[in-house]
Symmetry: C2
Subunit: 243 residues, 2 copies
Amino acid sequence: MPATMIRNLVALQCDHCMVRHRAICRALGADDLSRLNKIARHKKYRAGETIFFENDEINYFGNVISGVVKLGKLLPDGRQQIVGLQFASDFLGRAFKGSATCHAEAATDVELCIFPRKPFETLLSDIHDLEDQLFANTLDELDAARDWLLLLGRQSAREKVARFLLMIARRIPNIGCGADMEVDAICFNLPLSRADMADFLGLTIETVSRQITRLKTDGLIEVEQNRTITVPSVSRLEAASGQ
Amino acid sequence: MPATMIRNLVALQCDHCMVRHRAICRALGADDLSRLNKIARHKKYRAGETIFFENDEINYFGNVISGVVKLGKLLPDGRQQIVGLQFASDFLGRAFKGSATCHAEAATDVELCIFPRKPFETLLSDIHDLEDQLFANTLDELDAARDWLLLLGRQSAREKVARFLLMIARRIPNIGCGADMEVDAICFNLPLSRADMADFLGLTIETVSRQITRLKTDGLIEVEQNRTITVPSVSRLEAASGQ
DNA sequence: CGTTATGTTGATAGCCGTCAACATACGTGG
DNA sequence: CCACGTATGTTGACGGCTATCAACATAACG
């Protein structure tokens, strides 16, 4: 088979990828994409499965194809804080370091596109645009972490929950809610349990639950079956989020 | 003057720099260092001066030569959170983005070594090691931010203050405290006011003050003139810091 | 020496955590 | 299909930690 045919075939595989134009692969031309594709394979995790532990030696990088991954940290006495959420097209892994600085767990069923460390690092040093892309990604993650510092340090439980819902709404596929919705409305399925939300927001399960019912009684959200959230007016919820 | 003489002169200047072997410049050989030096100049700020505001267009990168810089974020109603502290040898600036994602203020008198954006970005794309260094730096900042998420979300006021003091002790030049000190002891000058500590720890001034007096009465620290801290036993303070 | 900034201490209140009971959803095996 | 046990979520009563408000002490500064 001639090289161009192989290349087309590979390109086709990645063309079908849901996150092709949002993940780091978007930095790559057809040839480089083919090189990346050769070392990639898919891996699935069920909701609740651990992907890696803190201080684990990590020999893989990966893109999230679907689902949500929780990144967390633990105190010696068991207190936990989720320090990052990775959605479809987000990158998983840490360059320049063989071990994980936090643990990762599948919040929902998750599909990853993973690359072994060594060959991926070769690609990184060969393809300057790829490293740029990853660097830019890391800066965005840093910005997001700092936004969350402001949230954890200075906002109330109600504001925390409101901002969390808005963040999820931006990152999760919107689902239809009937033709009578206002333009400012949005509807989605929560990918996290109340316990995960609590660990992300620095609150307890009970407080998260209470704030959700309060937002509900205030008419800022509607809730079906615990996990389906409708926000009739995004701007009103934003006003309640303190920023 | 022959080129080699100029190069030696420039190398000499950087050789005298206090942070030469810790800042990003450590990635550079003599020739590249000379290129960086040509675009560098020093700039001083007095304690309390603003270096830049959030959303400002930033046309400079820089290294901290001496002093401490606070990076902060504001809510519309004025609540503030410090999201990062930059010490000697730390890098200031954000690649791939012309505007600041937080504001910066001199916590103490500060001396910066600054580089105009355009020529620095040229160096970045020319010198691969320099970009690697900056990337590695950013990953470390992300790790630090995530550590702080755990602190803000899940630790008590006492633990927060203890961990803050330990972090400062690691990053600030240790000062002598007499020959009778235990090996586990350390002594330093606090670079931040109680108000800054509060904004960094997500607490109020009063709570910070109370926790300091509590650590003092518990014998975990000694305080002179508000800003000079002696930690007789680092390991005991670590035990109080919850990790 | 007065004025302002910085820090400490006390009294009180409120938000959120803790403990407990209950409700609902989910999954498995009879 | 139902019974049962487990996981998840809600609600209530109560307490503690930290914020708020206030007064005072000390340091910094012109």
